[in-house]
Amino acid sequence: MFEMNGEVDVKMKKKKKIKKKDRLEGMKKEMDIVSVIHKTRRRESWREYGLTSSKAAEVLERDGPNELLPPKGTPEYVKFARQLAGGLQCLMWVAAVICFIAFGIEFSRGTLGCFDDLYLAITLITVVVVTGCFGYYQEFKSTNIIASFKNLVPQQALVIRDGQKNQINAMDLVVGDLVEIKGGDRVPADIRIIFAQGCKVDNSSLTGESEPQSKTPECTHENPLETKNIAFFSTTCLEGVATGTVINTGDRTIIGRIASLASGVGNEKTPIAIEIEHFVDIIAGLAIFFGFTFFVVAMFIGYAFLEAMIFFMAIVVAYVPEGLLATVTVCLSLTAKRLARKNCVVKNLEAVETLGSTSVICSDKTGTLTQNRMTVAHLWFDNVIHAADTTEDQSGQSFDQSSETWRSLARVAGLCNRAIFKPNQESLPIPRRIVVGDASETALLKFTELAIGNMMEYRERFKKVVEVPFNSTNKNTLMLSVHELEDPMDLRYLLVMKGAPERILERCSTILIKGQEMPLEEQWREAFQTAYMDLGSLGERVLGFCHIYLNENEFPRGYKFDSDEMNFTTSGLCFAGLISMIDPPRATVPDAVMKCRTAGIRVVMVTGDHPITARAIAANVGIITEGSETVEDIATRKRIPVEQVNRRDARACVISGGQLKDMSSEELDEALRSHPEMVFARTSPQPPSSPPLIIVESCQRLGSIVAVTGDGVNDSPALKKADIGIAMGIAGSDAAKNAADMILLDDNFASIVTGVEQGRLIFDNLKKSIAYTLTKNIPELTPYLIYITVSVPLPLGCITILMIELATDIFPSVSLAYEKAESDIMHLKPRNPRKDRLVNESLAAYSYFQIGAIQSFAGFTDYFTAMAQEGWYPLLCVGLRSHWENVHLQDLQDSYGQEWTYAQRLYQQYTCYTVFFISIEICQIADVLIRKTRRLSIFQQGFFRNKVLVSAIVFQLLLGNLLCYCPGMPNIFNFMPIRGQWWFVPIPYGILIFVYDEIRKLGVRRHPGSWWDQELYY
């Protein structure tokens, strides 16, 4: 036993060394703990005695506790450092260092105003650190969301050690321990069964199989996932008892390996992350380019090296949109909150936007598209197929229940049924009550409860005498029971039977039609066959029902019925009808699928069900549309062999797991390309070749942005691999939730559609917000360019720029996230991530060279006004810089012959900063108004509908006033209390911005596709 463990350990260690990618490949090929399965050396004494406590402690010491370690996170300080070392941040660091150097040199020279450089350096560092903290906090919060999903209740296990049964914490289990499990327990580790009694295990969280697997001590298969003698960690034992030895614990368990496999698949960068990075690179590049150009120009003109460095830094500060990252983060987290209200929890903020660009949704069937509960869908009696109500809230139409046959059929269905409601659920609506019993019996119980009424009491009236349940061992596909009749005078016994329809029919000689027993003639047999086929083709599970009143003389009261001997009539029965069941689609799903279709999103269904069932459900929810045919359909219709059908004629395609396994990547790509409607059925539950993973990879090769839904552990690699992984909140396993970017709390597919809508909206709004944020960089930059080239007194200071970027303009840019959609965004095709970029050429050109230019002119108008009205005419300003900035010149003459000291000129310069600031603010108010829409007129969108935006404008004005008029501002932030008149100078330019943009939008609306539209629509 222990050598074997050593062997496994060595294998594991070897595996760890192999790189993650290879590991993935390795996992795909084989899941080999096969060796473990065969080596079943049993020692009877040990079997009862178990490990000794000391030995267990020793092994525990060696192997560590039996728990899944969370995927290794990056250390906190690294995460924080990463936030401080982005592209923009590095640029800011450089700027801060330049400031410090400038301060140092100027301070040693004793220059007046050298502390400005120090303040600027400190401000820059503060900006970097504060935005860094902000980003870190966001990341920290999302990590905490994941942590909160972990179940903190410790799991218990019944273990035999030192010959005694103990309840211990499952964490303390070690390899070699002898554990007992029983129905309802979670399997506490990977266990090789050495004794089992009717033990069935639900592997669905691991493999996605919904059918319970029976576990026995025999090794039946090479593959550990197929063999019957291994029960896996984290699966649930449904019924029976079993004893086994622990063969793997913790991360070495199958599930642990899959979970670590999931963390091994690289987390693909979200499209918006790529977008923003791409954009930041461009900005940083441009800032350095401009800065360097002007550095060289300044050096060439004859400025000192230090001055040129300060120009460089100032240009960097002016050009870098410091507030952008914060704006984007806030916009995204706002949307995430909005989504959370609609039951989508977003773990990775950027995923919100990714969802908007989704072009393929790869959805699991069970639980997402369907209700995940078997429900009676159709009944066949009186030679008619009746449809039952399958809606979740029983709001649908019911069928005619007046027939006598119906009553008999319902009685058989109700009586020949072992399922029972758990007690004390009377207050719950019937479909939501918890039932003990298998899926189809549950469905029948609920159905009869709804149709007839209290079934528990009904069964009391028909006392059960004997019962022969389904028995998979002796291949009995029938179930029957014998009951007394409710009428105490009627001493006959009633035998009821259900089972596979053809087996039931074999035992019948009559059939109930309209309450009359008719001989089962050929005509009825044919009718039965047609109905059976019809229901089967709907993908439904069909059961046949029959009954017989046992002869009173032959079976008098007190007759000893023997379930083993079957000493009673089991043929010549009377056929009552067929009932078919299906896991019905959720009511909201067809609508949501339809919405996806109009939004240009493909929905691909993946399920473990039989292809026919899969197809039926797909057709039901609209994944396969009416009139779409598969290759097989065309073959049947044209009566030609499947091979002769042109594959391109078939819109729909159902591929089974077996076919998928044999397909090459190219064939799969081709299939996905040529069939718009795809269903993958009977997908093998084997994690290594997890079908979703293959499908996702294929879709991504075709350039799609793929969203994948999943709940089981086996889905987690696919969830990771997908552009956006969506885990189910209710049914989902921890591993799936861990790997996912988003979690649907209500497991409802319709929520994804809401998510898509929000994602698209945030993309549009982010675009607007970024356009708004970028615009002001030009009026921030041009003062420097004019200052260097024309040598006017500096119109705008660095600290003022930072105040615009980080104080007054943040709120308005965030408020654009609250803007309503301009048009029905769900009727547009998903954006092409390669072409429709967040920041495209026309957006940048329009913001920079048009609106930004107007703003610059507004700023300079106000600047020259303030200068001229204080005595400095525009022409005098030109070339004035060297005198103006001469610290020793205390009597510089203005245009009127008045003489100014240096400090007076400095405060005048601050006044200029302030008027330039005010001009940018006024123009930015016009800017935020025009950014409300990209195409529609603002009059169509409404000025005041976005309340947040209105309050943001008010806030911006108030903050502007505070900065201007709060005492002490001149010496802290270089703001001067300016004359009220100067507020009004930039207003004509604000109006110009507004009118010009209205003209632009008018042109874009009137002449779509024209030159105007191409150049000016962003």
Partner: protein
């Protein structure tokens, strides 16, 4: 393979020969967009010029619209500088100062003043009001004769006392249009002192004209256009027995009942300070 593809796309973005695109645009596309921007910027520049024109029209030629920064006039010394270090034995160390003063005071030569400016009534403002819309231009200015500076006029002592180690410094008050520096007929005057630790080293200081006053008749100033020959009044100070061979920090300030004290941060508003050192050793 992939690298080659990348290379070509990179080249293509600059010049794509197949579509004849330069930086993603064809020649006609470039032409159109440049034309658009040309028109756009001409319009903007036009609008800018228009607003500037309108703004300039609102300005008065003779008085600035606002004088927010000039509440306290600045003070300045001649010769300029924060520190003066002279050596009585070394002519070169003060030669440039005397030259500066000669130059500066040449405008105040009595003959020139008599020729250009009027004799005014002392101790009262020389107000030349406009009569309604008719501007009273050009405005006359009062004579400030160089001889008023007496020992510091450079007329008697051409070295302004520098050679003797009793240097002259000339102080002027910055021109501010319309400023009336004293009320109730009291003229503002300059007073100089040493900073704390140097207070006993400064010795006796002589002021010219007497009391170091700026006579009210030189105010108000009407701007360089209206009052072309304005002679800015001066005050000269002469250090009669300053401690030699030591740095002495001197601060002069204007004493007036009508000039608000300047801001703490402006070291030249209504005051001026400098460092003086007179070396007598070789």
């Amino acid at each position: 393979m992939a690298k080659d593809a990348e290379k070509s796309t990179w080249k293509d973005t600059i010049w794509n020969p197949s579509t004849r695109e330069f930086c993603g645009r064809t020649a006609s596309s470039w032409g159109l967009i440049l034309l658009f921007y040309l028109v756009f910027y001409i319009f903007l520049a036009g609008m800018f010029c228009l607003t500037m024109y309108v703004m300039l029209q609102t300005l008065d030629d003779h008085k600035p619209t606002w004088q927010d920064r000039l509440g306290t006039p600045g003070m300045m010394i001649r010769p300029r500088g924060d520190t003066m270090e002279i050596n009585t034995h070394n002519t070169e160390s003060w030669d440039m100062y005397t030259k500066t003063l000669d130059n500066f005071l040449s405008f105040y030569n009595n003959s020139l003043q008599a020729e250009k400016n009027d004799k005014c009534t002392p101790d009262q403002y020389f107000i030349q009001a406009d009569s309604g819309d008719v501007k009273n231009i050009p405005k006359r200015s009062c004579q400030f004769n160089r001889s008023l500076l007496q020992e510091c006029s450079g007329l008697n002592d051409r070295t302004y006392g520098y050679q003797a180690g009793k240097p002259c410094i000339i102080i002027k008050l910055n021109r501010v249009i319309g400023m009336l520096p004293g009320k109730d007929g009291q003229a503002p005057f300059v007073t100089c002192g040493a900073k704390k630790e140097d207070s006993d080293k400064i010795g006796k200081v002589a002021y010219y004209p007497e009391n170091g006053a700026f006579n009210l008749m030189y105010y108000p100033y009407y701007g360089k256009k209206a009052q072309v020959n304005y002679s800015q009044p001066l005050v000269a100070i002469k250090f009669l027995n300053i401690t030699l061979n030591e740095d002495i920090n001197i601060e002069c300030r204007i004493i007036s009942n009508n000039i608000p004290p300047g801001s703490e941060r402006d070291k030249f508003a209504g005051k001026v300070s400098f460092k003086l050192r007179i070396n007598t050793k070789q």
